[in-house]
Symmetry: C2
Subunit: 399 residues, 2 copies
């Protein structure tokens, strides 16, 4: 007997026409997908023509920083990178951060919105040590079977200019953290070659993925993309290296954007864009045309950096599409693709998608087309993780 049969939905696969199909799930995996399935199942749910989308991937957030679900904390961080870093570190203890409780609140909201996978950067510095790793692991444990969380050991306070941080990052990787992060190797850390060599070296040693925050603008940003592309080629880490934010990419001349996108694709380096404030968005059309991997994330959510955010990844997909002026349906679908398949690529998921053999991570919305779902951000009527119903009508299902 199969576990679950989702009957009569319209599953979306990028680039394929929509059609009505049933989805058969057993042991957490999609075993069959197609019209008119008749196999018996323990539970059958009639989707009545609703749209079925693969589980959302939030490829860039900061679970360790969030105060989601806590009292309102007026922002005191201001707008400079330095000011926000100092404010973020300075008020951590006062506000009980990092907090497993707040991180779990946010994970709950994410799950109810259809997010199946999360990559969270975790601040690591000599003061906080690995407490962020512990807190977010505790939160993830609470929702272990409802969302997968991948951690990045992230030197938010600097690496080369913050003695002791490198050893802590290495300790995190040794302890099983999946990826190592970086932060503006030039503009903030002041030693681009040093930071990148250290990060790539640790990634090779521990088989870790790489995800580097790069806020540096203009030519300084573009130059560091080249440094990262170069090292990715040299180390054979293709497919495992990501540049997050990449603000410069959104403001360079179109020719330069195309040149970089082609190099990213060829070297196997991906980007993540979050459409934060007025910061430039990595151009989705250009990345797609070059075949370069692009993912999306919510970035900071209700933390000491930003008071904004709600963890809803479908709404973030809409925000990115809106900011990048994607208006035709196939363009809007680029954003949906980035928030699903693109995220899966960045996180290195091997069993992702709405196909037989894939993990049964999906959600259901009432929308006429995938583009309409992005634009209208409808309530998630059903969320399935590894074959189990984890949320209905925007609310978590009791454990």
């Amino acid at each position: 007997m199969n576990d679950l049969l989702l009957r009569g939905g319209r599953p979306w696969t990028p680039g394929s026409p929509l059609g009505t199909a049933d989805i058969l799930i057993t042991g957490g995996t999609i075993t069959e997908i197609g019209p008119g399935l008749t196999a018996p199942a323990h539970t059958t749910i009639d989707l009545a023509g609703a749209l079925v989308l693969p589980g959302l991937v939030d490829a860039h957030c900061h679970l360790d920083k969030t105060m989601y679900g806590g009292p309102w904390v007026p922002n005191t961080g201001g707008l400079t990178l330095r000011g926000r870093i100092d404010n973020g570190e300075g008020r951590r203890d006062e506000l009980g951060l990092p907090s497993a409780e707040y991180a779990a609140n946010l994970l709950g909201a994410m799950i109810s919105g259809g997010t199946a996978h999360v990559r969270s950067h975790i601040d690591i510095d000599p003061e906080v040590g690995l407490r962020g790793v512990e807190a977010v692991r505790a939160a993830a444990e609470r929702y272990a079977d409802r969302v997968d969380v991948q951690l990045v050991a992230f030197p938010q306070g600097g690496l080369m200019n913050r003695p002791g941080t490198g050893a802590l990052l290495e300790a995190a990787l040794a302890d099983g953290v999946a990826a190592i992060g970086g932060l503006d190797p030039a503009g903030f850390d002041g030693d681009p070659t040093g930071q990148l060599d250290l990060i790539f070296g640790l990634a090779e040693k521990y088989g870790a993925r790489i995800d580097i925050h790069l806020h540096d603008r203009g030519a300084l940003g573009a130059w560091q993309y080249d440094l990262i592309i170069e090292r990715t080629r040299a180390t054979g880490l293709a497919g495992r290296v990501t540049i997050s934010h990449a603000y410069a990419m959104g403001e360079l001349a179109p020719d330069e954007q195309r040149r970089i996108a082609a190099d990213l694709a060829e070297a196997g380096v991906s980007m993540v864009t979050c459409a934060v404030g007025d910061a430039p968005v990595v151009p989705l059309r250009t990345m797609r045309a070059a075949g370069a991997a692009l993912a999306l994330g919510n970035d900071g959510i209700r933390d000491l950096w930003t008071p904004y955010g709600d963890g809803d990844m479908l709404r973030r997909i809409m925000t990115v599409a809106f900011r990048d002026r994607l208006v035709a349906d196939p363009e809007i679908e680029l954003a949906l693709r980035a928030g699903t398949y693109g995220g899966a690529e960045v996180l290195g998921l091997t069993d992702y998608g709405l196909t037989a053999g894939s993990a049964a991570d999906l959600f259901v919305v009432d929308a006429e087309t995938p583009a309409a779902a992005v634009v209208s951000v409808p309530v998630r009527t059903l969320v399935v993780k590894r074959g189990r119903v984890v949320a209905r009508d925007g609310q978590l299902v009791a454990h």
Copy 2:
């Protein structure tokens, strides 16, 4: 006997501390506001400490263009101004636009979100004539006692370069339309002096307000601000002239922004910003520091120009605040102020606010502070228009 007593809410007035107060309403007007009111009322509602905000003002939308509540229409307009204008005109008939039905759908959504006042531009050109005015008036009539709609006779297809449009604009004003619009007098219409002289002349003749769409960027945009400021001074129309979008204002050097904001304030010219796509946002801090009036609007909502939008003015206030990187509470309140009091100033409302003697237009949300209400965009638990409950928990109350 009074009509309505709202007990124990926390009404917000910009710049004043929040405190618990009761609000007494009779004949559609706030008659008393303060702690511990004891006057008897026909209906008493306990607000239990919820936040009370004045009715939202959507100072820039296009009710005549919307297809809100209709089937999904994939966008075919592209990204250029010319392409969108041609697409918008070309597909009007096929899609049954302008439509009183769609406009009413959208007004219903706006009301349920706490919007009390709407300024809608109405496309007028020799092909559509005044049909947009008729359609939107019919929709507004349906919700006559639940939202106030102010119309702008708007030459979307051009004025000087579109023979016959000027006479139609005049006919609309003669028929009682409150304001006359304009569109990029230089960049689109090609005759800035001609367009502005015509608009200001008609405004003087009919006692109309003025609201000019100005997408022109950089120096070309700034130069036209000066033309408009000059004519406002010359005609004595201070307080009645608005520049919508004003993209250039968001990208000029800070010194130039401050100079223009000071001139706007001195001449009595306001701006409206909508935070559309990647277009620059008029800087809220600069406008406030100069004392220049600024309002917000949703702009296009589910129309042939853009597939985006939902009519929720509180969410648009959040989007503007997010785009303008307003992070501290007093900064976020600038956006709320623009979406309420700022809009009232632009529309010329004389009885607006949460004070005795003001029209009883307000809404209620569960939020700790005004900034928290902007950031979290909570459901509007109660919406009151002219003293009558028109929506509860995000749903219209039956007529």
